[in-house]
Amino acid sequence: MVVQMTPLMRVITITRDNLMSASSAPVSGSVDDVVVIPLDASRDSDDHWILKVPPQNAADRAIARLKALRDEGVVCLGDDAIENLCRAAVEPSEIVTAKLARHRVENGWLYTLSTRVFTPMVNVAYTNDRTLEDATYDADPTSSTNAASTQLALPTSGGTESVLQYSGTEQLLLTAADRNAKLVLTQNGQNVGERIVERPITLVVTRRDGDRTMENGLELTAVDGNSRLSSAFDQLGVLPASIFPARFREAGRHARVQPSTLMGMSALERRKFTRDAAKLLSAEAWAAAANDRQREHRNARVRAMNSMTVPAEIIVGFIDDDRAHGQRRFDSAVRALLMRMNVSVRPFGEGSRNAVVAEEVVSALFDASLITAEGKDILIGRKNVAAAMTSSHLNPTLPDLRAAFVTRQLTHNDRAHNAPIRQKLGKSSLVIADRHGLVTELALRGYTTKLRDATSTNATSRLDQVRNAFRSAPLWQELLTENWDVRNVDTDDAIDALAASAAADGPESNSDALLLGVLGLFAMTTTGYLLAPGGSSEAVAKGKVDRGALGSIVRGMLRHHWGIELLADAVKRSRADLPLRMWDEETEELLEVPVKDKAKFNAFLRRRLWQEDSPEVVETPDGLQKSALDQLCESVASARNSMQVLLDVRKEHGLTERLPYADVAATLQTLSRVRDVLVTVSLPSDDQVAL
C-alpha cells in the first residue's frame, strides 16, 4: 500500500520517545524538510519506514513463474535475463501473481510486466530516438570523428530473445549512455526526490556486444522515461566511496551515480551496491539534525531515498503476427510502442519521427536486397559514409552528391520499392508528399555540422530554418516517373557538361536535367538562398511572384535555359562556399548576391518564373484590349477594397467626422471621370441591344 503525502507536510510520528526528544521530528527552522515517502505499510521499531532490498532467494518463485510463462511462449528471455529482471524488483512476490499486459504494435503483440524496480539496477537508453534530428552525423564530411560526436547506431533485434542488441566499443557505449542521461536531464529534468516517480517507465532487456572487458553485458534499459530515470540518478547524489566496488575508488570514479558507473559493475556488485546504498540512505534519512547544514544533508538523503525505486513496465516478450519472423522485428515493435507513447513532455519532433521511419525504410529496402550494404551506409549516414561513397564511385567530400543519392533511392516508384514505405507509414497508397520528409531528414544529415557551426543571430539554428524550408515539397513528379541516376559530377567542368546535356533534349524528361535539378535544389536551399514561399517576396520583387513549393520552382527552372544555367552556377558556387549569383535584369549577366541580401535571390527567382509562366497576352488588338480591360477591372476592384478598409477603420475607431474636402476632391473627380469615360466606350445595358 502506498501512502501519498504532500511534500511539505510535516511528519509527526507519535511514540513516547518522540514526544520527549525534540530532535527526531523536524522542528521549524529556515530549511523546509523533505518527507520520506513510504512504499508500503511496514515500519521498523522506531516506527520509520526503511528501504529494504530483498535477499537472494526471495526472487526464486518469481523466476520460476517467468520460466513457466516462457514455456507457454509468452515470455521470450534467456535464463540470465529472467534472473536479472526478478532480482531488480523491489517486491519479487508481485511478479509471482502479476498479470501480463498486452500491447498491439504494427506487426504483433508486446507483452509487459508491471512492477517496481530499484533505480541502480536499471539504466537509461544508450541512444535516444527523440534527439535524432539534433544529432551530428558521420555523413557530414566536415564533422570530426572523435567519439563525442559519433552517433551510436540504433539497437537491433537480438536473435531469438525479445532483447535489444547494441553494438559498439565499450568506450562508445559508456560515453553514449552518459551523454544521453545528461542530455535529458538538462532538457527535461523531472521533479524526482521530493516526490517518488509515480508514472511507470518502460524497460526492455538489453545486451551489449562490444568488448567483453565489461563484466556484464546484460541490463534493463529505459525505452520511455529516460528523463525520469536520469533525474532519479541525479538525486541519488554524492555517495560515500565505501559502498562502491574497490576498483572504482582507485580510479576515483566513486562520487556520483552515472550510467557508466553502473555499466561497469557486474550483476552481483550492482546488487550489493544497491543494498548498501539502501541501508545507508535509510539510516541517514531518519538521523537527528541539530542545525540547518545537517538538515540539508538529511534532506538530500531523503531525496535520494525517494529516488531509489521507480515503477516500471518491463517488456518480456513479443509475438510476431507472422511466426516465421521469430524475434526479427522486435526492434521495430519497440520503436513503434515508443512512438505511440507520445504523452511525455518531449514529444517526437516531426524531424525525429521522419528520421525514425526513414531508417526503418532503409533497413527494409536492404532486407529486400534493393540496396547494397554500401548504399545502406550512405543513406543512414552514421558510419562508414566516406568509404561507402568512394566504393560507390561518388566523391565523399560533396554532401550534395549524397543528397542526390538519397533522393534517387527514395523516389524509385515500383511495387518492390514502394512496399516498405507504404508499410512503415501505414498507408495503402502513396503520394509524392509522403516521401518529402524521409528524403529531407536523411539528405540533411550531410549538412548537420556545416549548418550548425555557422550560428545565426536568432534562436532557430540554420539547420532548423533549412528544415523548415524543406517542409514545402522539395520533390516533383518527374523524379518519380522518369528514369534518372546519380553520376559523380564532382568538378566544375563536370557540372558544365551536365548543364549542357540538360539543355539539349526535352529537359523535363532528361535524366541529366533531373540530376542537375536535385543538386541545384540542395545547393540553393542549404545555403539559405531559396526559401519556402513567403509573404515578403512580392514586396522585395516589386511584383507578382511564383508562390510554388521548392520542387515546383526547380521544375520551372529546368524548362528554361536561363534556369539551367542558374542551377549549374548555384551548384558550383555553393561547393566553393561562395555567395550565389542571380541574373541581372538589364545586363543579362550573373551578378553575385551578397549573403546579407539572400532574400532577394529568392524573390527575383520567383518573379522571373512568374513572368515566364504567366499566360501570354494575345497580341491582337482585341487581345490587347481585353487585357487592358482586365487591368481596369482589377484596379476598380482594388479601389473598392480600399474603400472598405477605410470604412472599417472609421467604424472600428468611432470616427464619425466627415472627411475634409481637400482630401477627397481630386479622387472624387477621378472616379467620376473614369466612370463617364467608361460609359462612353460601352454599350448600354443588355436589354437595349444596339440593332
Partner: protein, 122 residues
C-alpha cells in the same frame, strides 16, 4: 446575370467552348440533369440574380457532370448554402489547357467584380 451576358462570357472561351447553355440551373436540382463536361467554369447567383461566386472544375478522375459535383462540395459550407440559389455553366473541351481555365476564371471574376481568391499570385 442574363442569357445575353452569359453568351458574352461564354465567348471568352473561344475555341475551347463545348456548347452554350444560357439558362441557370437551380441548386436544388443538382445532379438531376447530368451533363457531359469534365472541365467547366461555373457562375453562381443568389436569389436576386446577382453573381456571387465564380469557380472552375478540374477533376483529376474521369467523372462527368463535374460542375454539379464541385458545387455539391461547396454546399457543405453553411454560408454558401444560405446565399446560393442557382448557377450557370460554361462547359469546356476536355483538352482545355490549365492556364486557359485559370485565365478564363480570372477574367470573368474581374468583369463581374467578384473578388479573386486563393490565387497563387496576388
Amino acid at each position: 446575370m442574363t442569357a445575353f451576358s452569359y453568351r458574352h462570357y461564354a465567348g471568352f472561351a473561344e475555341q475551347w467552348l463545348l456548347e452554350e447553355r444560357p439558362h441557370p440551373i437551380l441548386i436544388g436540382s443538382l445532379g438531376i440533369h447530368p451533363s457531359e463536361e469534365r472541365k467547366a467554369i461555373y457562375i453562381v447567383v443568389n436569389s436576386r440574380g446577382e453573381c456571387c461566386y465564380v469557380g472552375q472544375t478540374r477533376p483529376r478522375s474521369r467523372w462527368s457532370n463535374a460542375a454539379a459535383a464541385r458545387l455539391r462540395q461547396h454546399l457543405a459550407e453553411p454560408s454558401k448554402r444560405a446565399e446560393w440559389a442557382s448557377y450557370w455553366v460554361i462547359p469546356l473541351h476536355e483538352d482545355t489547357p490549365n492556364d486557359v481555365l485559370n485565365q478564363l476564371e480570372r477574367r470573368i471574376c474581374l468583369r463581374l467584380q467578384i473578388p479573386l481568391r486563393h490565387r497563387r499570385s496576388r
